[in-house]
Symmetry: C2
Subunit: 363 residues, 2 copies
Amino acid sequence: MNLEEVARLSGVSRSTVSRVINADPRVSETARSRVLAVIEQHNFQPNAAARSLASRRTRMIGLRIPGEVGFIFSDPYFPELVQGVVDACNELDYGLMLMMEPENDPASAERIYQRVIRGRHIDGVILSTSIIGDPFAGRVAVDGMPAVMIGRHPTLATVDIDNRESARGAVSHLIDHGYRSIAHIRGPHTIAAANERADGYLIALNEAGIPIDDSLIGQGDFSENSGAMAMTALLDRPAGRPEAVFAGSDTMAAGALRTIDQLGLSVPADIAVIGFDGLRHQLQRHPSLSTVSQSISGLGRNAVSLLIDRIAEPDAPAPHVYLTTQLVLRGSCGCGDSVTEFASTRSRIGSPSDALVATADAS
Amino acid sequence: MNLEEVARLSGVSRSTVSRVINADPRVSETARSRVLAVIEQHNFQPNAAARSLASRRTRMIGLRIPGEVGFIFSDPYFPELVQGVVDACNELDYGLMLMMEPENDPASAERIYQRVIRGRHIDGVILSTSIIGDPFAGRVAVDGMPAVMIGRHPTLATVDIDNRESARGAVSHLIDHGYRSIAHIRGPHTIAAANERADGYLIALNEAGIPIDDSLIGQGDFSENSGAMAMTALLDRPAGRPEAVFAGSDTMAAGALRTIDQLGLSVPADIAVIGFDGLRHQLQRHPSLSTVSQSISGLGRNAVSLLIDRIAEPDAPAPHVYLTTQLVLRGSCGCGDSVTEFASTRSRIGSPSDALVATADAS
DNA sequence: TTGTAAGCGTTATCAT
DNA sequence: ATGATAACGCTTACAA
């Protein structure tokens, strides 16, 4: 069954059937209803490849998760992101192609790139994490593939949160509690968001006139285990254990809490903890985790709608959208448990508050 | 740049270029090298839609995760499955389309089905979870879409583990420890694997002559929280707390352990715990979780390769493949921590050991 | 409002 | 081994 046959059965031309299917207003009611009846009766569905070939649009977008993030298993970040992207795709009748490169296989990554991007399997692509030095973002621009970065990028359209200001706020809050020896468990230097959060940590200390102590900065990779190990090192410092720790993600915070528990220390009495992400998961424990909450699925949804816009108007200026975050105060930072106060960064289109990202016009 | 132009630049016909691209042996070395040079030079990549239209194959497969599983966030099962599927797709140069239905929106689910399956966006589909009464599996067969079920199904090709035998083994092990009051935290009745694991639990008790006590069977939904709540109820039983609990998933076991911790009870002294899945994640805690370990990514990889086979030979008999599981004994069941013994179910093609699944010929 | 006809960029068949 | 040429099933001017 194809357009031709539907046309024959409804006594109209192929073009008219095509118009009906594509909701073209230039069709008479009688023709439309006849065609729709035939379509209904035969449960006809137009062939995707033929549509794509003729219209030069596939109604598919890609979600690219870089090979550098080997922590997909241990961090609920990606499942939540995918959920947001999928939901938006479903609403807009777009298909989603998952592009995950193998971790250490550039040849394979290149094959995937060629087939999917240059072969025009998709109309546009969402890049999920700003990796320092990642060539992918530059290439899609060269190949004329519409793209949206979740994270920061000077020329691509972006959806992001203000990582630096959010982190600064969290650490300032710890300082307000009276803590002065505040540690940070940071993510990889190759991931932009990790650097921005570390920047926010430094800024907050500077603002309070607290000297920076490098031994208070632990290195993690966003996995729970790395958080636990970094915490172990921080508690072993010759200079003594810190009064508080700001973890670059809730998952690393969970690891830190595990270490703290195992050593028989208590939170927040012995050491206060604040995380970053606002994963539902971390609500369960006692005391529950204070954190910078962001809507990860919201990032995904916004990225999709932005991308669809850009597919329609590839030459419009690339917008940079920033979503709000909330500082959610619960038990682990020293606030009474079940207390929830909010301090929001502003949601806006433009540049983050510190104006470090190259700006672009709003859409 | 298209085939035509490559042909012109290499001084051959379009057909020859097509043959080169598709590794057709009937091309002279001279022609092949000339064509390859031009392709290389212009970085040519054939258009996916045109290929699909002419060849009637898209080189894309779908992974369908049913809307019934609302627990995607809280369970690392799906990320790991996706990883296995993606890896296999990458190796075989197939693209992966994610199909996740919204939870309570049949109309939207239907739209997705029509567009993707009937519109022939994909060459085949992997169905990720056997849901009782789910019409999807039946429909793909009707629509002539090759499919592989991860789980059980009478007519479709399947990749699965022997849930019942694995669960029986785990519970038998608890019985061997001397426990007689053994609880089970089970998954939803709509999910086949949950029922099979519950069956295994009952069988093990029967074999040992231990009477079934319904109050020892807690209901969960595979989320950590549901495990915690079920455990709370089990510990509150008027008949007293059980000596051991077999959880239908590691995630629910983690919830149960949380409850046990919070009540100040200790594992395995006060209560022994065995989980199911073998998530890396659960290795970290003390005592670490004894569990039935399965290779979730292996299920995904096998499903892909099986699916590709079926796309090539849709009329071959549908194989049922069973992967091994291991009973991994660590601290939580009462075995000394760091002790690891293995009891494997056998990996095989055919029917599970209890022969409850309709059999099919091996491929 | 409708139909005609020319693509879209491949693959596949059939000669040569 | 190579080249014409006809599909593949749709969209989209352009005509009517």
